[in-house]
């Protein structure tokens, strides 16, 4: 018997075959494992995008609104009956609808928050009072999902949120050109709302921005300074050993424990206001610090000793060696580590839950001391809401969050590729 050009006995040929089979099996397991991991990743991203992409489009219904001075008095803009204006326009569009229950069904087509938009319009331009305006108002969440196809039309009426009559009205509106879908810009500028069709991530983005700003301006200098000391100046003794072990252990402490720490230290002890970006930023700072310290130390130790020795050789002091030579050369690595740490802080949710950044907040925070929520927390809050319309909002918010993370990581990779020096 011949195997691979060699004359071998029958038994050893059989044995060889078995051994090669085992090798193929191990390889197959490896490929299978990688395929499983990649498949799950694809499934994860796919399910997010599939559910989330409709949220970037919104459905609007156009009405001729009679903004009469009777309902909205020019001197009392805040007490105007904006809802009544919209109701009248609806009833005028469908004059045949008289029954109370049917009228209620008719009203359910338009968002419950549509009068806010009208109020904003009138407040910005009081000359509108007394005129008739054609205005695109946001449709209710059910209509929105039906029009975008997230909710099927062809199921029995009892399993639908909108009945046949309402769908007929919608078809009539569509035929008249009173129904359109457009880019949902309010999703990016608006803040949280009880009505899914009005909810946006603007407030959460602002909250995340302030939180990360606090984290960055505290964690970056502190982390870099600590790393410089430990890597460049610290004598090798018990105290510095202890600090090192500490930092490595802190990097592995569950993030929720940092939330407990923030709750006790910043809220109970320092009495900072609850659910504000400043407390969130301080808490995330403590969490990000070990990451920044570890990556900064790695970057510093990658600078070859010859640089240091040359600088010492021309008479630089130890602080000058570090600040004039080692630190600038290590800076790309430090930036990369910092960006990755910040990306992790951006996606962090659990510690923010502990310090109460989970409130329902309608105002967009304008400063670190305002009540705020963060993007991942907003996702969590919407995941808790029973309304079906929030599923697409939540998925779209995840898409935005992932986009930010990909951007930050791409920046880190770019910095590393662009500025990294190989010694």
């Amino acid at each position: 018997m011949r195997v691979a050009g060699w004359q071998v006995s029958e038994t050893s040929a059989r044995r060889l075959k078995k051994r090669y089979r085992r090798e193929r099996r191990l390889k197959a397991f490896g490929i299978l494992a990688i395929l499983i991991a990649l498949g799950v990743l694809a499934l994860l991203l796919g399910s997010v995008i599939e559910r989330g992409h409709p949220a970037f489009v919104k459905t609007e219904i156009a009405f001729n609104l009679d903004i009469s001075a009777e309902l909205i008095k020019p001197d009392k803009l805040s007490k105007g009956k904006y809802g009544k204006v919209i109701r009248n326009a609806l009833f005028n569009t469908f004059p045949k609808v008289k029954k109370r229950s049917e009228r209620r069904e008719l009203l359910a087509l338009v968002s419950k928050g549509a009068h806010f938009q009208l109020r904003r319009m009138v407040r910005d331009d009081p000359r509108l009072i007394g005129t008739v305006q054609r205005v695109w108002l946001p449709a209710s969440s059910d209509v929105d999902m039906l029009v975008k196809g997230s909710m099927p039309r062809d199921v029995p009426e009892s399993e639908r949120r909108l009945n046949d009559r309402q769908i007929a009205w919608l078809d009539a509106l569509e035929k008249n050109g009173q129904l359109q879908t457009s880019f949902n810009s309010s999703f990016f500028t608006g803040s949280d709302s009880r009505e899914p069709e009005l909810a946006g991530i603007g407030g959460a983005l602002a909250g995340s921005f302030w939180t990360l700003l606090i984290t960055l301006i505290l964690a970056f200098p502190l982390g870099v300074a600590a790393a410089i000391y430990l890597q460049e100046f610290a004598p090798k003794n018990r105290i510095t050993d202890f600090i090192e072990v500490n930092i490595n252990n802190l990097a592995a402490v569950p993030s929720i424990v940092f939330g407990l720490l923030g709750l006790v230290i910043f809220i109970q002890l320092f009495e900072l206001p609850r659910s504000t970006a400043i407390v969130g930023g301080l808490t995330l700072m403590l969490m990000t610090l070990p990451t920044i310290i570890i990556s900064t130390r790695a970057a510093l130790s990658a600078v070859p000793p010859s640089i240091r020795e040359a600088a010492y050789g021309v008479g630089a002091s130890s602080v000058q060696v570090v600040s004039h030579h080692v630190l600038p050369l290590a800076l790309p690595g430090i930036m990369t580590g910092t960006i990755i740490g910040m990306a992790r802080a951006l996606g962090e949710t659990a510690p923010l839950l502990m310090i109460g950044m989970v409130a329902f907040i309608v105002d967009i925070p304008a400063a670190p001391f305002d009540s705020a929520t963060a993007l991942p927390v907003q996702i969590f809050l919407w995941a808790d809401s029973p309304e079906r319309g929030f599923v697409e909002k939540m998925s779209a918010a995840i898409i935005v969050l992932l986009a930010f993370l990909i951007l930050m990581n791409a920046l880190a990779v770019y910095l590393r590729r662009r500025f990294e020096t190989r010694w």
Binding site: G30, L44, P376, F380, A383, L405
Partner: protein, 460 residues
Amino acid sequence: MQLVILLIALGVIAALGYFFARRKLLVAAGRTSIRPHSMPGYHGWYVALWCALPSLIVLLVWLIFEERILEALLISYLGPEITSQPVNMLGLLLNDIRNLAIGDALSREVDPALQAAAERYAALRNTARAAMLGGGLALGVAGLAWSWYRVRPSFRARHGVERIVKGALIVASFVAVVTTVGIILSVLFESIRFFSIVSVGDFLFGLEWSPQTAIREDQVGSSGAFGAVPLFTGTLLITLIAMVVALPVGLFSAIYMSEFASPGVRNAVKPVLEILAGVPTVVYGFFAALTVAPALRDIGTGLGLDVASESALAAGAVMGIMIIPFISSLSDDAIVAVPRSLREGSLAVGATRAETVIKVILPAALPGIVAACLLAISRAIGETMIVVMAAGLAAKLTANPLDAVTTITAQMVTLLVGDQEFDSAKTLAAFALGFALFLATLALNVLALFIARKYREQYE
């Protein structure tokens, strides 16, 4: 307002100090034949730092204690008959006085006494702020004067500046230690308060977990039970499921990537796998709750099984996906660290590559792989969002992966989210759970480090 003025003023004084100290030195150096010890810039920095730093440090300490001092002064003003009421009522009153002083919303009608107290508080506050401004500026000017006096060619300004810089670096590196101590102390103290209400034995060995305490004394059936065993078993069950998913996938992909894959495949696949590690946990929670859990329930119904909608299996499986990159990249490091000579020796005596991997490389890399697993377990038991979103809330003592269980972290979130006072047994229980979690993860990390160090083969 005063704070902003003070900061700007300090900045201006420090900047002026920098420039004039430089000038002073240059002028003085021009007059004498002594060569200055330090460059002019160092003299400038020395003066600027001495001007700003002491003042800023005192300011920070003052800001931390300001509210407490004001409160103590206000209480002494109010007199004993008002301040003898219970602590929480007094807190409410003080809050109202504060809010009235700054014109915020109140929880009661304004009466003359309250008005007077608020005016008193506002006056105290103004005095305090004015004192802060004056004191800060005085300290800044004093620092300026002292350091200014020292600027002369023979003065070793660079040594002074470098001492300050090194001191700042040391302080920064102690922040990490302070954080650890802060974690331990804060969690420990609250846990001790909890254990003064509930005994340690009841907590560690009790089988019943229902943290709802009665609002009124006479309410039925809500005395609150704090036996954490169901939480521990729930956490272990979910972690076990996660490891069953993650260990084979992570290990086999690490083996394939380091031993069989071509460099091209490796460079393409590795970053993609690392994306899994960068996905925020809230996204995994979403995936578990909205995609995996319903799918598992449908499959279960198809097979005639009763799968809970918040089954441990769904949460555990998704958590396993989350920790795949941990295991694969740490095991990859361990496998790559096995020296070439072992590999080549094994191949040279006729072993296939699979035999080399199984009989030579894996045993040599085993300590690293075990350490990777321990780190992954520690990560899994501390993971919060997946279990909060996808696991149940009812504490149930079960080993059935199709049932709903709850975990330590999920309970911590449920106990602490929402507005409530900080000293009920219910909220304190969260700290006791946090303490247990901290100890468990710390022990796992230390053990992982120990194994990796102790059993690592020293080649060469």
